[in-house]
């Protein structure tokens, strides 16, 4: 418990110190404070991981009662178990590396201290998300990482594109959070509690399995509805189709942020959430089918767009979208351990790739277009080698990290009988190998295409190169260490008890099938790399140009990201703004309601205006009126 609390306190204290005194007093020493903070968390995470793995430690404790809503009591509580301890390792490792890297990368920026303050906020929020022992804590972390993401994407707020991107990210996430909120309300309705221990209780779930719930007159299975709501949150946070459009735009933020938040940690929160709620998702068959669909669709969507992009960070961003699709798909088929395993390995190599791209940007004067790069391998050896390692890892070549986790996901999908998803996912693996090596060849191999930029290119300082090397080593090792032998590695022993094996495990494959699948995925990866080599080294630039010409409409469609942004603008943004502006405000508020109100005001005024003519102030008129009145009354009296 003490270590768990310390994990949270580290970044919190760093945030407070930097936030309150950073601008005036600390200034350039801000990184020291922030690194000390995250360092404390890192050490505590290691200790916790050690205790959990060797002594089977679990902590499920309450710090204080946070919210009382009628009979419902929500604690501010902490849970340390294998799942949260492995997430702690991921978060604190990447966070620490990004902190160190940023010392070099952000050096000289006007908002140096501000950047590190935001990083501390992010780390804190992510740790709250991971360490909470109830849905409320999860939601709090969930929203706060959204806030930190907003702040960091909009770090260079004076750029309109950055300001747009951070708002878009927040709003897209909020759309998912709406679903999440409804999911929470249904959890409360069902279990009268938000604690994991009450909600993931097998007996309680058994009781509500067949229960239905009526929403707007339609009847749904309660557990499906609940999990679907929760999953909407995951679609927002983990950038799943159709809420994926914010993630590529989020690349407007500084590159270390892209590595930390938009590749390694925050965007995987959705995967973590689904894995955490595996007891519920495993019983929700409708939702699970949808999860598989969303995951597969996202994996394909991201990879297909990734094929055509020219902006290095966008390529990586769409690759992240695609890989997140893999993880979500894995949770859908019930391979929760593999999903978390892929989350773990992906954090290492995608974090690495992003940091490499930052190093390239640094050398290329913030230029990101791969068409002006080329031949950087001699100028930037460390970046080149580490980037190459990242590419091999993500492509799924053994024995690097990506192979182990990706192969497991494919195998479980196949074994679960989801053949279409498996087919698409396997194709995506080939596409991934292709576009990752496309970027590698265009950036590092071949001849320099812009000599001016090339001449000024240089290797990055050690504060930046160090983390690259560290993450590259991890990208090589973590797969083997945790994943060998396939489908039965240490990770399964470690996470198995919390991530109850679901249906996929029931129908086990034969050894031969497993091996065939493994060989197939290696072959596909190699094929992808070979094609990339032919396109971008051997026959460059003839072959790519010719292909683009042949498949012009397809290329344009992919280059424009399937026109999702345009579609959403047309379907939602414009109509809602029009409705609000023209109908609700100008028509109803101003012309209907205010017309009536003003009429109420006008009637007495008009009446007063008429009466005014009678009040002339001349005695003669008054006397005349009086005489006429008296005569009229007398006449009236006598005639009746």
């Amino acid at each position: 418990m003490i270590f768990a609390v310390l994990t949270l306190l580290g970044p919190l204290v760093a945030f407070l110190i930097n936030g309150l005194f950073g601008r005036r007093y600390i200034k350039n020493a801000a990184p020291a404070v922030a690194i000390a903070g995250v360092g404390v968390s890192f050490v505590c995470a290691l200790i916790l991981f050690y205790l959990v793995s060797t002594q089977g430690l679990t902590v499920d404790g309450t710090l204080y009662t946070w919210v009382i809503a009628g009979k419902l009591e929500v604690p501010f509580g902490i849970l340390v178990d294998p799942l949260s301890s492995i997430m702690l390792i991921v978060v604190t490792t990447i966070s620490l590396m990004v902190h160190i890297y940023s010392m070099g990368y952000m050096h000289g920026d006007k908002g140096y201290w501000r950047f590190f303050t935001y990083l501390s906020v992010f780390t804190l929020s992510m740790l709250v998300l991971v360490l909470g022992n109830n849905f409320m804590m999860l939601f709090v972390g969930w929203e706060l990482v959204g806030l930190s993401s907003y702040l960091l994407i909009g770090f260079w707020f004076f750029k309109k594109s950055a300001a747009d991107a951070c708002k878009k990210a927040f709003v897209m996430n909020r759309i998912g959070d709406f679903g999440f909120y409804v999911g929470l309300l249904l959890v409360i309705f069902t279990f009268r509690s938000l604690n994991y221990s009450d909600a993931f209780n097998a007996e309680a779930i058994h009781h509500i399995k067949e229960v239905t719930y009526t929403v707007f007159g339609m009847e749904f299975s309660l557990i499906d509805l609940m999990t679907f709501g929760l999953f909407c949150g995951a679609m927002g946070k983990s950038a799943q189709f159709p809420l994926h459009t914010w993630l590529p735009d989020a690349m407007e933020g500084p590159t270390p942020v892209s590595a930390l938040i938009h590749a390694a940690t925050m965007v995987t929160a959705g995967v973590y959430m689904v894995a955490r709620c595996n007891a519920l998702f495993a019983e929700a068959h409708m939702t699970s089918s949808f999860v598989i669909f969303a995951g597969t669709m996202t994996a394909f969507l991201g990879a297909s767009i990734g094929l055509t992009q020219y902006d290095l960070k966008r390529i990586l961003a769409y690759s992240t979208v695609s890989q997140l699709g893999y993880m979500i798909m894995a949770t859908g088929v019930g391979a929760y351990v593999s999903a978390i395993f892929h989350l773990f390995t992906h954090a290492m190599f995608k974090g690495l790739l992003f940091l490499c791209s930052g190093s390239v940007m640094h050398a290329m004067h913030d230029n990101l277009d791969v068409r002006v790069m080329g031949g950087l391998k001699k100028k930037m050896p460390v970046t080149r080698w580490t980037y190459l390692i990242g590419c091999i890892a993500i492509a799924g070549i053994p024995p690097l990290a990506g192979f182990w986790s990706k192969d497991e996901i494919l195998a479980f999908t196949f074994a679960g009988g989801h053949t279409i998803s498996w087919g698409i996912a396997t194709a995506v693996a080939g596409m991934t190998a292709f576009y990752m090596f496309r970027s590698y060849f265009l950036v590092f191999e071949g001849e320099p295409r812009d000599h001016h930029l090339h001449d000024h290119a240089h290797e990055s300082p050690w504060t930046m190169a160090g983390p690259l090397v560290f993450l590259a080593i991890l990208s090589v090792l973590v797969g083997m260490v945790f994943g060998y032998p396939l489908e039965a590695g240490y990770i399964h022993k470690f996470l198995g008890p919390v991530l109850t094996p679901a249906h996929a495990h029931e129908h086990h494959m034969s050894h031969a099938t497993a091996q065939a699948l493994m060989i197939l995925s290696i072959v596909i990866a190699v094929a992808g790399i070979t094609v990339a080599y032919l396109f971008y080294v051997k026959f460059y630039p003839v072959l790519p140009e010719k292909t683009v010409k042949t498949f012009k409409p397809v290329h344009k469609f992919l280059l424009n990201k399937w026109y999702f942004d345009e579609l959403y603008d047309f379907l939602f943004v414009h109509p809602i703004v029009m409705l609000s502006n023209v109908v609700l405000w100008r028509a109803i508020d101003v012309n209907v309601i205010d017309f009536i109100v003003n009429a109420f005001g006008r009637v007495p005024m008009w009446f007063g205006g008429v009466i005014r003519y009678v009040q002339t102030g001349r005695i003669q008129t008054y006397i005349l009126t009086m005489v006429v009145g008296v005569i009229a009354l007398v006449a009236l009296f006598y005639t009746v």
């Binding site: 809503a69 806030l147 309109k160 950055a162 309300l185 109100v597």
Partner: protein, 498 residues
């Protein structure tokens, strides 16, 4: 302690009279008013400290005959429903006065006198337990507010003030009709003609169903204007835009709560049959307010108008919670009344202080000022996020309680209300982006950041926002007992109805 409520009510009035007679200069009366409001705030602290949280009924009661022949008493008391409002009123008045030091340049003495008289009216309204007394305070409060908008307001101040007056007068007249009806009916049934609110509430069982429906409808409409609920909300944007900063703060922070306070004190306990019958209808109106307010806020071009429409949306959550008629919903409603007062009050102060420097409230005139006023930008961001309902800050807890309560009572409407969390992010962040982010408008390159006075008056609000967010029990503990009593009252009636 015995007469602390009377002291709370009449101290500002006495201070106002003192200033009227003994002060001549604007500056000195400004300081005198500020000191008076600080003392008033300090008086409210022992009230909070000595409040018995386990007692559901009225505390610190003061009772004396006033006009015995028609049954009018001088009757005051405070319970878990009103105590937070008292605290909110004394706090916000103090802050609003401090926030007016440089804003108000003409007729300073009169302005501060109006503020203090207004405070007496507000506190009196929350404490009065006699209908006659309540009505007097209610009306007394309108006059200084009318003057604050009409004299110290912006260009269209007269239109706004008259509109405000027409609307609220309509509300007052309706309320008076309901009061007279209750007075006579209660008198006829019991033979005891009294304006005693508690006694009239006790006899709720004797009122016929039709009578309850009519009284409820009339009361409800009167209070709905004050809240304001759709479609009687259009006075609010005009009043806010034209009012000076202090006026907007008090208007949003305290005056709007009079409506929901009235519902809690009268509509629910006195006419419970009607309240239970009509709660789905009110839920629909609340959801309309939440979504409608948010959508209209989104397309506003004036920052103050945007925040004003957002109030319609946020107050929709309050009414939704109250009419859920359960512990979580009503507590959420009250907590949200408090939060909205703090957060929207802070937003109006922030808009006001930048207006003093730029003399514009058009969103399009701004842009990128985060670069020139970093402290301001940070604080503005915090309150923007608080208003959006980000966890760890107050409004999140309030909304959560409301939604939990509402989901239990009418789940479909609660789900629709939750859409509000999307739109609140849209309109607030869009405004924030266009005002503080993007490229810096050259006009504001040398804009001065917040000064010490401005930081001082925002600071308490900042603390409270996080306090409510992290440990809401401090504030909820005051209401548990009283709300439980109200809920039990409603449940008894609901059971009897079946």
């Amino acid at each position: 302690m015995q007469h602390i409520l009377s002291l709370l009510i009449f101290f500002p009035l006495a201070a106002a009279l003192f200033i009227l007679i003994f002060f001549r200069k604007g500056k000195s009366s400004m300081w005198a008013a500020f000191i008076a409001s600080v003392i008033e705030f300090i008086i409210s602290i022992p009230l909070m400290a000595n409040f018995d949280k386990n007692e559901a009924g009225m505390q610190f009661v003061e009772k004396a005959w006033w006009i015995k022949s028609i049954g009018v008493q001088y009757f005051l008391g405070v319970d878990g429903i009103s105590i937070l409002m008292i605290f909110l009123t004394t706090l916000l008045t103090m802050i609003a006065i401090l926030g007016s030091f440089t804003y108000i340049q003409k007729r300073q003495k009169e302005f501060y006198i109006a503020m203090l008289v207004l405070e007496t009216g507000m506190i009196g309204t929350f404490l009065a337990l006699d209908f006659f007394l309540f009505y007097i305070f209610w009306e007394a409060m309108l006059i200084p507010m009318y003057l604050i908008i009409g004299v110290w307001g912006g260009k269209r101040r007269v239109y706004a003030a008259v509109k405000f007056f027409i609307y609220t007068l309509a509300g007052s007249v309706l309320m008076m009709l309901a009061i007279i009806a209750l007075y006579y009916t209660h008198g006829q049934i019991t033979g005891n003609y009294t304006f005693d609110i508690l006694k009239i509430t006790e006899q709720y069982g004797m009122y016929g169903k039709g009578f309850q429906m009519i009284v409820f409808a009339v009361f409800f409409l009167g209070f709905a204007i004050k809240v304001p609920m759709f479609p009687v909300h259009t006075w609010l944007p005009d009043a806010h835009v034209e009012a000076p900063t202090a006026g907007s703060v008090i208007l949003a922070g305290v005056l709007l709560k009079m409506g929901t306070y009235g519902m809690l004190r009268f509509c629910l306990p006195m006419t419970p049959y009607a309240a239970i019958k009509l709660m789905p209808a009110v839920a629909v109106l609340s959801v309309i307010a939440i979504i409608y307010g948010a959508l209209v806020a989104m397309v506003q071009k004036d920052i103050k108008k945007l925040v004003a429409y957002s109030s319609v949306s946020h107050m929709g959550f309050v009414t939704l919670g109250i009419y859920a008629l359960n512990q979580a919903g009503i507590e959420g409603g009250i907590l949200q009344m408090f939060n909205h007062g703090i957060i929207t009050g802070a937003l109006f102060l922030l808009i006001g202080l930048i207006y003093e420097r730029t003399h514009t409230r058009e969103i399009a005139d701004y842009g990128g000022i985060a670069a020139s006023v970093p402290v301001y930008a940070t604080i503005f961001l915090i309150f923007t996020m608080a208003s959006i309902g980000l966890p760890s800050m107050g409004a999140f807890i309030g909304e959560f309680l409301v939604l939990v309560g509402a989901f239990e009572a009418f789940s479909d409407w609660a789900i629709l209300a939750a859409i509000g969390v999307i739109f609140s992010a849209v309109y607030m962040l869009w405004m924030f982006q266009r005002v503080l982010y993007q490229s810096l408008n050259k006009r504001w390159e040398n804009l001065a950041d917040m000064n010490l006075r401005e930081v001082i008056y925002i600071f308490p609000l900042l603390i409270i926002v996080f306090w409510v967010g992290m440990y809401p029990e401090t504030f909820q503990s005051y209401m548990h007992a009283s709300v439980a009593k109200l809920v039990e009252h409603m449940n008894t009636v609901a059971v009897a109805m079946q």
